[in-house]
Amino acid sequence: SMTFVFSLILLVLFLFIFLTLSNMIFGQLLGDFSGLIKAVENSSVMGAISLSLYAGFLATLLALFLGVPTGYILARFDFPGKRLVESIIDVPVVVPHTVAGIAILTVFGSRGLIGGPLEPYIQFRDALPGIVVAMLFVSMPYLANSAREGFKSVDPRLENAARSLGAPLWKAFFFVTLPLSARHILIGAVMTWARAISEFGAVVIIAYYPMIGPTLIYDRYLSYGLSASRPIAVLLILITLSIFLVIR
C-alpha cells in the first residue's frame, strides 16, 4: 500500500543520513580510537576547535544584539519597504559560501569600504574579527527571523495591558514581551551558533589562519588524507552535538 511504500522511502532517507554520520563516528571510535585520543592531545586540534566555539559564541552575541531589536521592529511595525528589508536580511541564507567570503573580503579587507578605514585599529583578514564577521553574515538571518516570530507570537494586547498599568514602552518590552518570546530567541540563538560554527567557505576566504575546526579538517585532508582528518571531524561533531544536547 501507499503507506508501506512511503515508510520504506522514509527508511531510506533516515539510513542515508544516519549511516553516513554513524559510519564515520563509529568507524573512528571502534576502528581507530587511538587516533581520536591523539587528536584530543594535539594542541593545534583543540585550539582550532576552541576557536570555532569561541568565534561562534561571539558571532551569536553580536547577532543577538542586532537581531532582537530588528525582530521587534519587523514584528510590530509596518513601514514602506518592509518587504525589501525582510528579503535582504534573508539573502545570506542563499548566498554560496565562497561568494559570501569574497563579498566580506571585499568590504572588510584592508582596502575595503569598512576594513580600509579601520585598518589601523582592527585587522579582519587572517584574524578573529574576520572569522566572526563571516560567521555573523551567514548565521544572522536565523536569529532575526526567530526573534521576529517570537515577538509576533506575543499578543500586542499584553503590551497594551502593561502600558495601561503604568509601564512605559521599554518596561513593557523588558517585563512582558521579551520574557514571553525568550524561548523563540533562545532557539534562534542556538541555530545561529550552530550555523556559525558549521561555516567553512566564507571563513576560509577571509581567514585561513588562525584555523577554525572546519579549516583544520580541510587542511589535514589536503596534506595527509582522509585518515588524518577524520579524527578531528569526529571530535568536532561529537563536541557540537553534545553542546546541543546540553542546551536542549
Partner: protein, 348 residues
Amino acid sequence: MIEIESLSRKWKNFSLDKLSLQIKAGEYFVILGPTGSGKTLLLELIAGFHIPDSGRVLVDGKEVTHLPPEKHNLAFVYQNYSLFPHMSVKKNIEFGMRMKKIKDPKRVLDLARDLKITHLLDRNPLTLSGGEQQRVALARALVTDPKILLLDEPLSALDPRTQENARELLLDLHKKTNLTVLHITHDQTEARIMADRIAVVMDGKLVQVGTPEDIFENPVDSQVASFVGFENVLKGRVLSADRGLLRIETGEAVIDASGDMEAGDQVYAFLRPENIALSKTSTQSSIRNSLQGRVTEVWILGALVRVKVDCGVPLNALITRQSAEEMKISPGVPVYAQFKASSVHVLR
C-alpha cells in the same frame, strides 16, 4: 469624566468618524454596536493605544489625546483579559504597583479578598477558568485605584452561567467604588441590564445616546430598531391620527399604534416578536391589536417557540413551549396575534 470631541481614526478595516461623546463621572456607560463597528478602536483611542487622525480626548478635563497610554491613568480590561502568562496571579496584580512604585501589599490582599481570588494568588493565570481570569484582570486593573474602568466586551468570553455572576460583580464594583465604567458590547441584553446610559455606534458613527429605555423603546432609526430586537418591520401608511393614537394600514391588515405622525404619512412600524401573544380567541379593545391569521411556520427553540403567522402581513411571534402545546400550534392553525398599541414603535 471622559469627553470625546469629534474623534476620527482609520485603522485596518475599522474607522471612526467624528465621534463626540461625554461620559459623566460615576456613570456606568455602555457602548453598544455590532461586531466591526469600531467599538474596540474607540476604547483603544481613549486608552491611548492609538493616536486619532483628528479630534481630542479629555479625561477629567485634561487633554490626553497625545499622551502615551501609561499617562492616561485608567484601567483597561480586554475581552481576553490579557493576563501575563509568565507571572503568577499575585505578580499580575502587583504589576501596576511595581510600575507606579507603590508599595502596599495589603491592598493586593484586600482586593483579592473582595474579588474572591485569594485562593488563586499563587496559580498561573493560564490554569484559571474564564470567570476567574476576569476577576484577576479586574484586580490587576483596579489595584492602583484608577477612577475610570474601560471594559472591552467583558462578558463575551464567558459561558452563560458565569456571565450572570460577572454582571453582578461588575455592577457591585461600580456601586461600591464609585468608578466611572465604560463598557463596550455587541449584546443588547447585556447593555439593557447593565447600563445607566447607552451609546449605539454603527459603522464608526454615533447613532443614538440615551437611557436603556430610550434606546430600546424609542430607537431613532430602523437600523437601531432592528439591531435592538424589533424583528417585525411593517411598512405602511397612517390612515388616521387622533391625539397620538394612530391607525396604520400595512399589507392587508390595519393596526393601532401610538406616535406623533399625521394621516397619510408613510411609516415603518417595528414590533418585537416577544411582544406578540397568540390566542385562539379574539379579545379586541382600543389599545390592544388582535389580528386574525393562520400559522405558517413553527420552530421550537428549547423552552421557546418561534411562530410565523400570516395576518395579512407576516408576523414573527415568540411564545413559550407550554402555551404552544396548550394551543396545539402547528402550520395551518388559525390564531389571533395580539399586541399592545404601545409596543409598536413607529418611525417615518
